[in-house]
Amino acid sequence: MTNNQEIMKMKSVISGVSVSLLCLLSGCERSGSESYQRPPTHPGREALAAFFTADVPSETVTVGELLQDPPEGGVVTVEGKIGGTPTPFGDGYAVFFLADESLVFCNEMGDDHCPTPWDACCEDPDKASRNRILVQFSDETGEIVAGTVKGVNDLREMDRVVIRGKVLPAAGGGVVMDVMSLSRISGPPSPAL
């Protein structure tokens, strides 16, 4: 083997060791790194999708109007937007908060930096709590359906929806609606100019 060949072979050995070391270090997974996990499918998601309808009722009341005089046990059709709290959707149970249109979400104020614009954090907290109702999806036995309704038929925070359902009394005051049907009107509103 000539000198040049030996030099090249030696350099290639050094290069190989260096590259191997770099690969070893770069291949180490940082602790706490997250890898994509497919969200689990719940049997309840199919059941929840059955509540959705494309027909939008024409005669509706707002959340604020409903809260002024809720007909306990009666069936109403109410219109509102999903939000009014940082986590409007239930985690594991099919419930969400429906807020009155009068509550101003952060993105409606032109503030696009808020990570949770649907929490209406710029509103008076008392006003926010007085202008929202809880919406729940129950099965035939009256039990709340397990599994979040978020993402079912692409339902998201700040969506404007119309809900037809039965008004139930809420412990401690307020209103809970047991959903009979849900119509999604639109996605998040445009920010104010």
Binding site: I7, M10, L21, G92, S129, L134, A170
Partner: protein
């Protein structure tokens, strides 16, 4: 291939240079081990403080800090009745209403110090399963239960917090009734007292939080449903593990600064070491060329250089780990949430070993390039 004894003999050729090279390796490995120990200690105590089966009910808007939260005392009873899936050992629901307060404690013979005070009832042990009373008993009114490491958080001798000793809070004297242990959690640096005492002295009529223990990790959904159904109570449900994970994230910049500092110092040591090696092997170019001339291959010579470098780094690693064990293994570090211990565990030691191997390999490259990079005739004439 050259015999291994060739590499070992070369190490002792120049003891002064050997000491410099080993010293550089000691510095680098020591810093890596220290930074790993600090990082793991802090994340470990915050990760260990929260259970994935515990759910904290806090006032809405206070998710980042339990101390700022206000929860009605009736929530304790309502949660016990309204949340399905709560553990109930011996028929008693594992629900603990607590008051968290950062207060100043005074001592007769030592300076006053801040401590995290937790107002609890005996139900607290049904929720916080890692807590044990190792000495004494649960505090009655006028008494406190101190964590095993609370004396370090308060910067007083351990004798100042023995059972029977007195401390003063808000002008009232409290007697230490017992010592609690909760290994790997921030509770070991806390001071616990009767909940009614703390509420009276801090003039509050609300709790900071209600902690419930669920039968399994999936039980969080039931707690979340309760807070939504009882939205009049203005509550938010948090997994206890998520709460402390959020706090750990808050201290992320501090942990990053530790690593950046260690890296900068280590980089200086590495570059200095590489420079030293590069210069040291300048005198051995002709030696290497002679070995090639008599038949040893360049790869074989490179392996010998690699052996020398790994040996130097190995000596430095052994010394660094010994120093780390002697200087800070078991030592405590105080931060705003409590105390954690530095520990040279298997992971930190493995970090040292990886550093050794990396140093050894990197350290072999400059001398190899210097000695074996040029052609044989040129090297023989150098």
């Amino acid at each position: 291939m050259l015999p291994f004894s060739y590499a070992t003999r070369n190490l002792l050729r120049d003891p002064a240079k050997l000491l410099q090279k080993v010293g550089g390796a000691v510095l680098v490995v020591f810093l890596v081990v220290a930074a790993m120990s600090f990082d793991r200690g802090m994340t470990g105590v915050l990760g260990g403080s929260g259970s994935s089966r515990n759910v904290i009910l806090v006032g809405s808007g206070s998710e980042d800090s339990v101390e700022r939260s206000q929860v009605s005392p009736q929530v304790e009873t309502l949660a016990a009745a309204g949340i399905r899936g709560i553990v109930d050992p011996l028929g008693r629901p594992a629900v603990s209403g607590e008051v968290h307060y950062m207060g100043q404690l005074e001592f007769a013979d030592y300076p006053a110090a801040q401590a995290l005070l937790r107002g609890v009832s005996p139900d607290v042990f049904g929720v916080h399963r890692k807590v044990q009373i190792t000495e004494g008993r649960f505090p009655r009114s006028g008494e406190v239960l101190v964590g095993r490491l609370a004396y370090r958080a308060l910067n007083v001798p351990q004798e100042a917090l023995r059972v029977g000793e007195e401390i003063v809070f808000e002008g009232q004297t409290f007697v230490v009734s017992g010592i609690l242990a909760a290994p790997g959690t921030v509770m070991e640096s806390e001071v616990w007292m009767d909940r009614n005492d703390l509420m009276t002295l801090t003039q509050r009529d609300t709790l900071s939080c209600v902690v419930v223990r669920m039968r399994d990790e999936d039980g969080f959904a039931a707690s979340d449903l309760f807070t939504k159904q009882r939205f009049d109570l203005e509550l938010t449900a948090l997994r206890e593990s998520d709460y402390y994970a959020g706090l750990s994230h808050f201290f992320g910049p501090i942990r990053s600064m530790v690593w950046v500092t260690a890296f900068l110092i280590a980089a200086g040591a590495i570059f200095g070491g590489l420079n030293l090696l590069y210069a040291a092997f300048a005198s051995r170019i002709r030696e290497m060329a002679t070995l090639q001339a008599i038949g040893f291959s360049r790869p074989g010579l490179f392996v010998s250089i690699l052996q020398e470098s790994l040996l130097v780094a190995f000596l430095g690693t052994l010394l660094a780990i010994w120093l780390a064990l002697a200087l800070f293994d078991g030592r405590t570090v105080d931060f705003s949430l409590g105390i954690f211990q530095l520990s040279i565990d298997g992971t930190a030691a493995m970090g040292g070993i990886v550093s050794w191997f990396s140093l050894g390999v990197i350290g072999s490259i400059p001398p190899a390039l210097r000695c074996l990079g040029s052609s044989l005739p040129v090297a023989l004439r150098s």
